[in-house]
Amino acid sequence: MRDYGAALASADTVSVADSSDVVSARQMVRTLAQRSGMSLVHQTKLVTAASELGRNMLVYGGGGVVRAATITEAERCGVYVEFEDRGPGIADIELALTDGWTSGSGMGLGLSGAKRLVDEFDISSGPDGTTVRILKWGR
């Protein structure tokens, strides 16, 4: 996945500390998706992915920050979202991305499902936290 960090200069930010913040985070993502002219189905997929990742961040990472921005390229427009927590990290990312694998109370579809719902997906994890970056192009 390319580095879209530059776009975050004008990013909207929501810090996630409890489950009501997850709702605010996905509302922020929805607003951006609507602004970028994304079709309803694409919007729904992106917001659902954001909801999964936001909850993951809260449950396994103890909360963190969600940043989102619209990306404009030559002929397309998209939304980039970054989820950053300071949790213990994910020991085996490969495993965590497997369908049905869960360390908690979920259905084990959070990471793998979110990955399927977006066009670009990137995860990096270490002992001092996890960062997930996603991008969805509107069409």
Partner: protein
């Protein structure tokens, strides 16, 4: 203190119409409320209307499946009605197929389906 989703009783049916963006706590409260109400009222059917829901993620999806299973144990059939097309397509992509959950296009069809089930024909 978060809001709760109201559970309405109409005859032998409990109607849950979700009108707000769900927080996880509300989802868990709803699960408790619903099983309590089924036992208290002896309801034979539950209809969960999600036509106002713009997204259903795996957490809400799991709640729908769990509710259906719990109510079945308590002798009530659950019908989920009004799922939006975009939501259905997203759930498929997500890998969630709501196995074991009966669905109907809208509230009216949901009620009809419940009647047929209680008549033992579906």
């Amino acid at each position: 203190m978060t809001d709760r989703v109201p559970v309405l009783k109409i005859g032998e049916i409990l109607l849950v119409s979700i009108q707000v963006d769900l927080e996880d706590q509300m989802v868990m409260d709803l699960q408790d409320d619903l099983s309590n109400r089924i036992v208290a009222t002896g309801a034979k059917g539950v209809i969960i209307d999600i036509s106002a829901l713009e997204i259903v993620d795996s957490f809400v999806g799991r709640m729908l499946a769990t509710n259906a299973a719990i109510s079945r144990v308590l002798g009530a059939e659950t019908i989920v009605v009004g799922m939006r097309p975009a939501v259905a397509m997203t759930l498929v992509e997500l890998g969630l197929s709501l196995q074991g959950v009966r669905t109907a296009l809208n509230l009216e069809r949901g009620l009809k389906l419940l009647r047929r089930i209680s008549a033992g024909r579906a």
